[in-house]
Symmetry: none
């Protein structure tokens, strides 16, 4: 059962405003047994005030024990069951560099590689060729011309780039051509279902022409293709929730993820203060604002406890300006935990708070992992946060008579 079957049927229109603040990787771990987490260490008077006013809990991004990537992490927060809905690796990579996928597109993660005279792979990452050398080669591959197909080639970083094939009748189900080994030939693109046979043929032709264009390159004289994927088929926020939704993010990945569920990406903010200003400007145009703050994750990924604390405090400081807009429902959460101690995404529940006039508050006095254990939201799967937001906004009617 998908919650969307309920929200689609029960959704109600009104003038409420919902703001969802996502501090990426928000949850953490203490540095030593009995210690405090990053969030508990940080001085967060504004978040603490919201925790007192509102209702808190722990958001389980996917299921207990599962550490999500950014894709499933955000799908969950957006209310899309992250097990039912998946975003292919190619589609996510394209999304991450700001490429807006269309319905006729197949996106592919590509790696430059080094081939010997007989076409065997000698280095699967082309000696980790630096971006300043690889980007011009990616641009050169734009010369590939295939009948009836529009070809896009976009550099990413080092040996990585993205190819998007656009045309009629392209399916996204083609097996990787990377053999995951050296000393062997690249695998041919092979369709794993009949609807993707044309894609496999087009990819084959791309590889042939690319081979000619890269011939003679010292490092990057070949390429492999992985994660073929069509644009994921996600119903829109408008359709499932009746919400005109805006995404206010700095990084392309999060703008792209929001776009995949039909949010408008608004503004070109580079800082959280600018993001808040953009919300203010667009306050009347939208019902829902997704605000993404990256740095609680990136500092966690760096394993830098102190910096994560500092970034959490920066995040806290801006909260006041958002609350000035008087949202009907304000949510603060993260797409997953990124404890500095692990320097990676983790499975731990994410401290979450929701403030609204009718939220039924709880005893929580501050915003942190331990305090959230006493919270009225309990522990819940992230996908239930949107229905809770709608309910608190008066945007969802009674189920059954």
């Amino acid at each position: 059962m998908d919650m969307h079957e309920l929200t689609r049927e029960l959704k109600v229109q009104n003038d409420s405003k919902i703001v969802m603040l996502v501090a990426d990787g928000l949850g953490g771990l203490p540095q030593q047994p009995g210690g405090l987490t990053e969030l508990e260490t940080a001085k967060t008077p504004n978040l603490d005030q919201l925790a007192k006013q509102g209702v808190c809990g722990g958001s389980i991004p996917v299921k207990p024990g599962i550490s999500p990537g950014s894709g499933p992490g955000h799908l969950g927060l957006f209310g899309y069951d992250p097990i039912k809905y998946t975003i292919g690796r190619g589609a996510l990579e394209a999304t991450g560099i700001g490429f807006e996928l269309g319905d006729k597109d197949v996106a592919i993660r590509c790696n430059f590689c080094t081939l010997d005279d007989e076409g065997r792979i000698t280095d699967r990452r082309a000696g980790r060729i630096p971006t300043e050398e690889s980007a011009p080669l990616a641009f050169k591959l734009r010369e590939v011309a295939i009948d009836g197909i529009e070809v896009f080639v976009e550099p990413v970083k080092e040996h990585r780039f993205v190819v998007v094939l656009r045309g009629e009748g392209l399916g996204g189900n083609v097996a990787d051509t990377d053999p995951q080994a050296t000393g062997v030939l690249r695998l041919p693109p092979r369709a794993t279902e009949p609807g993707s046979q044309k894609t496999a043929q087009v990819a084959e032709e791309f590889l042939r022409q690319a081979g000619e264009l890269l011939a003679g390159q010292p490092k990057a004289n070949g390429l492999t293709m992985r994660g073929f994927s069509a644009k994921p088929d996600l119903p829109s926020y408008e359709e499932v929730y009746g919400l005109r939704a805006a995404a206010v993010a700095v990084y392309p990945m999060y703008k792209g993820l929001a776009q995949l569920v039909g949010m408008d990406v608004v503004g070109e903010a580079q800082t959280l203060a600018e993001q808040v200003e953009i919300i203010r400007q667009h306050w009347d145009d939208y019902d829902f604002f997704f605000v993404h703050f990256k740095y609680t994750d990136s500092t966690g990924e760096d394993g830098d406890f102190a910096s994560k604390v500092a970034k959490t405090e920066e995040f806290d400081a801006e909260i006041v300006n958002i609350m000035e807009l008087k949202p009907t429902v304000t949510i603060v959460t993260g797409d997953h935990s990124t404890p500095a101690m692990l320097a990676s995404h983790s499975w731990h529940p994410v401290p979450t708070l929701l403030v609204a006039d009718y939220c039924r508050t709880d005893p929580c006095q501050s915003f942190g992992e331990a305090e959230c254990l006493r919270g009225g939201l309990g522990q819940f799967e992230a996908k239930y946060l949107m229905p809770l937001a709608l309910a608190n906004a008066g945007r969802i009617g009674k189920y059954g008579a």
Copy 2:
């Protein structure tokens, strides 16, 4: 969605060790309103220490309000959705007496009964014939010979025994022959799907020959067959988790349940101390150890509060020796609650703790039902314990990018 689809895809190998200690029927109830449960009454300094170090919560064996038998109780703990995966009654009975089922087997719970001259059942349990009288009769039934079929007959207790039919093309879907009434004829074995017609015919022939062998017996001159079932089709621990798993149990039922999910049964321990010694001996051979302690359940089933407290203390005392082995992840839980007050399995959440370096501890200061309510695991379905164990052991990769 089955968690195994995730764990199968995301599993990672490393050198970690996971120990799951199952104190059967662990959860309980106070003897009087406002009192303490068995576990809360027991002096459990070692478990309390683990509760301080680790993260606690309440395990819901199947779903809220559902009291499980040993089969579903353990399947849940092993991470097999106990609603999706079921073990037929015959298969469970065979498992409980240590009969290792094979893929060509159909197991059947049989009852000796008393028939009148016209074949009508006069006593469905053959006057609860004592085991010393019934066991020789079960052995006698081993004389039954059916072409192409291997027949096993094993006594259980009083009027109960098990028949296992082994052969090609035997399905497990045959209706019970016990009419659940006296004064009527036994029902014929009837296949409920085409693939089990041969089984029904073989069972018919078994009943015919058995009738001849039992003719003239004063009490047990007939039998009924119930719970026909093939070996349940459970994926193995190795396949779904990548774990080499060992079961260290005293009672055949729990060895058998572990075997059904592909664990190796190691040792012939008769006491918990011997179980710990066996773990020590096999420490390098396995990644996962399931340790079963029966007596918290059997004392609960007896309605004996004081004995359950004493057995809980015995259990606690051995914990030290297990912790000396320094497992990466230690779990203490039960397959269900068995409150002495109810003298039966119950639906109440089972106190559960998990200790690992990255478990994100919580405020719990001791191990007991009330304290676990403050725990960081919250209340969760037992089937999520294995994914949590894998996550804490670093044995599960990131879901999605």
